[in-house]
Amino acid sequence: MRSSHSRLSARRRARATGGIPLLPRRIPARQILQGVARRRPRLERWPTLPILLAVLALALLLGGWTPRTSAIAAQSGAPALAARQQLASGPRTVARWFDPAGRTAMLLALLESQGQAPGTLTFTLPSGDEVQAQKLGPLLVLARELSQLSPDATFDVATTVCGPAKLLAAKAASGAGIAQQVNMVLGIHIGQGGLLAYAGLNYTVVSPASPVLFAAAATSCVLTSPQYEMKAGCSDLKSPCAALLTPAQAATQYDQSMVAAAAQGNWDTVYALTGQAVTAQYSSTAAFGALMQQQVQRVGRITALTPAGAPSAIQLNAQGQAYFVAQDNMTLDHNGSTSQKLITSYYVLEGGGWRFWFSCGAGSHC
């Protein structure tokens, strides 16, 4: 049986854990905002007015489709994608970036969502722990801009943000360290419609006994030698972000790599262009390649993939994921017997590039 003394001590300790005073909120002294968000001009060549109006009406009916997308479809004369009616589009409440190589991620709340404040930033560390900051002015400004931004807009912003944040442990082994106060220096570079980003992070745990650390950090809000980096299409705060392929280019690239791989048995390029949903499960190209060769033997060899019209425009769903949809006429050769099938495939933005996400198989809701 425990003593009353030990119990009382524990009770006191339990009460003490919730009492860490918040540090005063600081707005960084220096903000560097480069570039101003501006929308790309509408297409210069317009189709005939009746077609445009019809496509525009359809786009508005389906919701969330920009006139530009519809114009592309109308220009190419492509049939509407069968999947269009099922796209899960909605207001972009969050922006989300992911660096598979660095195993880091960043999320910025763009809109008020059931109590979540706009401008709340979450940087996920490779360990699964998170650094979370709220109510830092530049982040709120950034969130407002991104919430109104079209994914095809020209946009390039870099800023450094300093201030208090919380370090949240994914799995705490004990009551200690459940939520620690930290000082954060965060450099952010966001490009191409908010689709691409770089973030570098430094943080220092604040000791309740010496909160002066934050003041010292805030006076020189400069990111040097970041402890953690999230590279999703941009590599640092200054260099231009990598150019993102258009949906049509990305889909064609994947189609060509697939046909070549099926013919030659080298699946390296397909693997590199495929999303984490697959590549994280088959962590070597050899294992993936062996699996695909088995599938070729069993199902047949894809000999041609021909785009069936233009892909959809870039979509941003409510969860902050960027994706597009493409359709291909697939030609399959199985033991000398040739068949054709229309296949709908999704591509997702991961690590600053388009990656093949999935095709709609039999019985799916695509």
Partner: protein, 537 residues
């Protein structure tokens, strides 16, 4: 009669061919067994079969009778197969056979009396040589009628009602098993200090009454874990005084959190003054010697991620770093936001609307003051701890054009309301957890794990594996993901016959070796452990 042997008159051949062809079993017979059990509201009617609301087993006392029904359908046409000769085969403690014939609706029944305690496995097959496409089996546990005195106190979950025994809508299998062996009057349920049973005037005997005078509006079973833990201590003292034997505690969901706090000696009572808190803690410590076993059933040990969401953004898609975070679960990164939102919406709707601002919700939030406080104290070594927790395990497959890529990694989703998370008594994972098995080894293939030294902790992960194609999650949630949400080990399903009844898909390792099989159903295993402790086996 075999319908394929029917020969129509030549003049009516064309018409009859169409009729007969529809009834010919082109794909073989599909035989589905059902156990009639009034306690579990299983009448094995045609409508019950149609609604899939049938159970494949029952718990009976020796010398009583058990009715088994079978429905025979053509697997292809789904039409009844009438007049099919069938043989029921009972294997096990009461081995026997019986020949019957399906009636015009494809149904047949078989009634037998169990004369020996033990477990029967019942199968059925056509004797005409007809092809069988699929056939299910039934399991019947036969128990000796006894009235062993062993006080058992059941503690329900948040938002629930203590009249669970009388209502017979949840935990019917478990109570049926306990009732057959133990003195009925010594199986009781605990009333929360604000129990819904008080408001409904359905409180079971020995509940002391609500602590609030405004029970009409405030008795919603959402009071604090601490207050209920102290109340539980009083109840244990009272129960022990009345019966004179150590009390076994069984808790579901929040009921487990209440038990855990009590077993820690009620170390935290934030709503009280220090003097009151000391008195309350002393009450708990005084009652601890009168507890012998604790059963945690999908219990809140480290909090529920749902409560974290409720306390904050109410938007599950914003969850990151959730123990199944994008950074550490790369394969699921692109589906996690949608998956989490779907699970949140589905379970939230079925939870029945706990108040996010209630003290119970605050206590059940991961890393809450309550959880941090009780984590500091181990369960007294005189008390055996048995933990059962849902463990839905998701794999994700992907189609790449014509090629199917099977998933190789597993996403552990717990019982959807509670992640499994850490076994450790002292852990406080940010997104909560249900597992409790301190200093235990890793789970075996069946999900069982136990103390590596001593015999105090035992835990069973109720594993239910699902493979979902990513196209069934994105862009719209499809049937296979819906089925995952309906898993029998899902938090809200675990109390139902689909998870509890003998012969259900939820099987656990039998650590008593009394069932005669490596695995058995959860309710029966709990009974066997109790019987083992009581020297009844």
């Amino acid at each position: 009669m075999d319908p394929t042997s029917h020969r129509p008159h030549p003049r009516s051949r064309t018409l009859l061919f169409a009729v007969v062809a529809a009834a010919v079993p082109t794909a073989g017979a599909q035989l589905t067994i059902c156990a009639v059990d009034s306690a579990q509201k299983s009448d094995c009617s045609a409508s019950a079969f149609a609604a899939h609301s049938i159970i494949a087993g029952d718990i009976r006392t020796v010398s009583s009778s058990q009715v088994i029904a079978v429905q025979v359908l053509d697997a292809a046409s789904r039409q009844p197969m009438p007049n099919l000769p069938l043989r029921f085969t009972v294997g096990g403690a009461n081995a026997s056979t019986a020949d019957v014939q399906s009636d015009g609706t494809g149904m047949a029944t078989f009634t037998y009396i169990g004369t020996h305690p033990g477990t029967d496995a019942i199968s059925v097959a056509p004797t005409s040589g007809a092809t069988v496409r699929s056939a299910t089996t039934a399991t019947i546990h036969w128990l000796k009628t006894q009235s062993v005195v062993h006080p058992i106190l059941f503690v329900h979950g948040i938002n629930e009602n203590a009249n669970v025994l009388q209502r017979q809508e949840e935990w019917t299998t478990l109570f049926e098993a306990l009732d057959a062996t133990y003195e009925r009057t010594d199986i009781e349920t605990f009333c929360f200090v604000d129990d819904r049973a008080y408001r409904d005037a359905t409180a079971p005997p020995h509940c002391p009454g609500p602590t609030t005078a405004d029970c009409a509006t405030k008795c919603i079973s959402q009071s604090s874990v601490d207050d209920n833990a102290v109340e539980l201590a009083k109840r244990v003292m009272d129960f022990h005084t009345r019966v004179g034997k150590p009390v076994t505690l069984m808790g579901y969901s929040m009921g487990s959190a209440i038990i855990r706090t009590f077993l820690a000696g009620c170390p935290n009572s934030p709503t009280q003054t220090d003097a009151d808190a000391n008195g309350r803690a002393d009450m708990c410590e005084a009652a601890l010697p009168f507890v012998d076993q604790a059963y945690f059933l999908n219990g809140v040990q480290q909090g529920s991620w749902l409560m974290t969401v409720k306390q904050g953004v109410d938007d599950a898609s914003n969850l990151t770093g959730d123990g199944i975070s994008p950074a550490t679960s790369l394969a699921f990164h692109s589906v996690l936001p949608v998956l989490e939102q779907f699970i949140f919406d589905t379970v939230k709707d079925r939870l029945g609307g706990p108040d996010a601002n209630s003290q119970a919700a605050a206590d059940l939030t991961p890393q809450s003051t309550n959880i941090q406080a009780h984590n500091r104290f181990p369960i007294p070594s005189n008390i055996q701890a048995y933990t059962f927790y849902g463990s839905v395990q998701l794999t994700l497959s992907v189609d790449i054009f014509a090629y199917h890529v099977a998933g190789t990694q597993t996403l552990p989703l717990g019982d959807l309301v509670l992640l499994a998370q850490s076994d450790s008594l002292a852990s406080t994972p940010r997104w909560g957890g249900a597992s409790l098995c301190d200093a235990c080894g890793p789970p075996d293939a069946r999900g069982y794990h136990a103390s590596t030294t001593g015999d105090q902790y035992h835990a069973w992960a109720l594993i239910d594996a699902h493979d979902v194609n990513i196209a069934d999650i994105i862009p719209a949630v499809g049937q296979t993901l819906q089925a995952t949400a309906g898993s029998p080990v899902q938090h809200l399903n675990i109390s139902q016959p689909v998870a509890q009844a003998p012969g259900s898909g939820v099987q656990v390792e039998d650590i008593t070796h009394l069932s005669g099989n490596p695995t058995t159903d959860m309710a029966y295993e709990i009974l066997l452990i109790l019987m083992h402790h009581d020297g009844l086996a």
